[in-house]
Symmetry: C2
Subunit: 448 residues, 2 copies
Amino acid sequence: MKKYIAENKERFFEELFSILRIPSISAKSEHKPDMKKCANRIVELLMEAGADEAGVYPTAGNPVVYGEKIIDPKAKTVLIYGHYDVQPPEPLEKWKTDPFEPVIHHNAIWCRGANDDKGQLFMHIKAFEFLVKTGQLKHNVKFLFEGEEEIGSGSLPAWVKENKKLLKADVILVSDTTMISEKVPSINCGMRGLAYLEVEVTGPNKDLHSGHYGGAVANPINVLCDMISSLIDEKGRVTVKGFYDDVVELSKKDRAQLARAPFDLDEYKKGLDIKEVKGEVGYTTLERTGIRPCLDVCGIWGGYTGQGAKTVIPSTAHAKISMRLVPNQKSKKITKLFKEHFLSIAPKYVKVKVTPCEGGNGFLIPITSHAFQAASRAMKEVYGIEPVPSRGGGSIAVLAEMQTILGIDPLLMGFGLERDTIHSPNESYLLKQFFAGMESIALFYKYY
Amino acid sequence: MKKYIAENKERFFEELFSILRIPSISAKSEHKPDMKKCANRIVELLMEAGADEAGVYPTAGNPVVYGEKIIDPKAKTVLIYGHYDVQPPEPLEKWKTDPFEPVIHHNAIWCRGANDDKGQLFMHIKAFEFLVKTGQLKHNVKFLFEGEEEIGSGSLPAWVKENKKLLKADVILVSDTTMISEKVPSINCGMRGLAYLEVEVTGPNKDLHSGHYGGAVANPINVLCDMISSLIDEKGRVTVKGFYDDVVELSKKDRAQLARAPFDLDEYKKGLDIKEVKGEVGYTTLERTGIRPCLDVCGIWGGYTGQGAKTVIPSTAHAKISMRLVPNQKSKKITKLFKEHFLSIAPKYVKVKVTPCEGGNGFLIPITSHAFQAASRAMKEVYGIEPVPSRGGGSIAVLAEMQTILGIDPLLMGFGLERDTIHSPNESYLLKQFFAGMESIALFYKYY
């Protein structure tokens, strides 16, 4: 595949850029037309790459792209999953380039979606194209790309249920995760789940002058801070009642296995420019993101946030709260527990509203499977090192559901790196990883 | 004056509206031209009302309006203070009418600045005009209107120092406060001071994916909430070290005197739609806003605050924090104590920055003075009830400084009501109060 890449590189960039330029931000309703535009363009790319057929399928939310090439009904079938929606680019002022105008610079592609997940799903289209054009394809291949991954994949499960037969396959192959580092290839064998909620604290029925009322009326921002502060205890544990009930505690042996992954805490701190890490007492940094659940405020707002000094007690304050879950925690149960807990700690002098936003369960992947072994062999050939099984801290909520509905295990061959700063300003994707990913995927087909 | 008001009402509205329409928002630098425009228009109004001279004077910040009419160098001189700048109108979506297009509706004027302080300073211009036009003026009158009261009056003290002779007077008369209620006229005999700061908490050097890092890296929003939460203890007391050191504790007798002011807690709670009030243990609601200091978060922001769910650990989180001070607390000292305290409680895993924004000391006014007695008599004649001496919770920072520089006591004849929601959306000013204010001011001259 190396040679094919060298010969077609410029065309690959042009094609990828044509989808990167479309601001398919699923979190914002004004981008609805962009979702469709992006889906249509991917259908064109699939057809050009050699799919028998491909199309845009409506759902209750953003459309799904489905395409396939069936070689032989008896051959093994690989179902590729990816998503063409992206995170909002904010804060815009921190981008060094236009978030939706891709550029190649310092051996990387810079653009929102360059890695997550347009860049990674594109590798699959090109590996497939290579196999088709060179007559090496010996599997049936099905492509399923959704437009709501970044907002919780609300519509996909229903579509998957309705199209169970169409999606019949032997493995769900996904590139939407990161490797431990450029020099330490890894394959994810588990992902965390997610429960994401928005909370609103209301005090007085209108904004008040902080001089006339300050000291006598509960300030909803102060109350929200008190409530948030109480959600994590001194040991770094989430205080939501029942939060840890279903968490699977790993055996010493399993923890030792995970600890094999190389990790340099000093490098980690240096990279983030922090003096200390912080997390649940008794666990390492990799364990804290891999096998332990957590709670983070992803956004907070209330009162006057403009220039200068406005002296006001606002009527309301808001926060967006995310909890990352581990296998066996169920997103729906945790969402319910959080809501109950948060309402129960609300003091009398405010009103509190809790609105669930999105969620999904975590999952584990058996590393002994044929697919996992084929992926491992492929990556070893490309990187020269056997990949380490790792646990991803992020969530692809819908994969746990697809695993249940279709009865097929996912396989996570991700080629992102931490340096890519997905979900943040200046997202990028290293060209080396982009090309090594295509090669690894092509070899996966060879060994699977 | 009643008759004069009846005959000139429509012109009064037109004149007041001409300054209300100018968005003289001192907190926002883009409104610089509006400050000058508003100052110029007030000069016109002063000249038309009968001033000998009036002009716009530059300062390091927004210009000052000064005008005067000298009847007799030996006569008593009244120095009127007011401010033509207004609070930002945000949140805009909560306004029922355009914040800068005044309307008369339900017997009130609705507009940003209708009360605070354009409406109130305008009463002084019209009371003065009445006395001039009817040949009743027997005092020298000086007008001093600034354009930075809402942002801490940064430039006025220097201007006052430079123009000490020009500003020589016997009393500083101010209408920039509220009365207890429509039926309970009151005169403020003290105001709280202010210390206002902005804080910034920085965690990692960039926004992070909350899945990849959540649980392992300190989230600056969570840390900010912890820090804010620790600023007020369970008894409702501010925990900043040394915060209460200079607070004057009132005697039982003084507290009993203040407790004479009629106050209905149930009405108060009903008006704000809250089930419980909250404040420092051991003090009543009126005491909490009148004689006790407090701390409020006036604004907070960090992370993703848009539509939908973005899973991010932001790099920074911010808050604006206001402390209302009572006599003898010094704003500069409290600002310093707060900064030291806030930096001292910052955990190792974040960086914290504290920026002072504005401040001023509180002050007390002797209720035995001739000016206070004249005001009391005037208001009794208009309202039919003797006004109650009260303590204002708000701050007019610059008055304490002017009191010191000029050696003149201020007198606070305020005609606002709590219902006017100054600093909030839908600011209004009751016509009844607007006219009763003019009458009271005209009578003040009579009895002073």
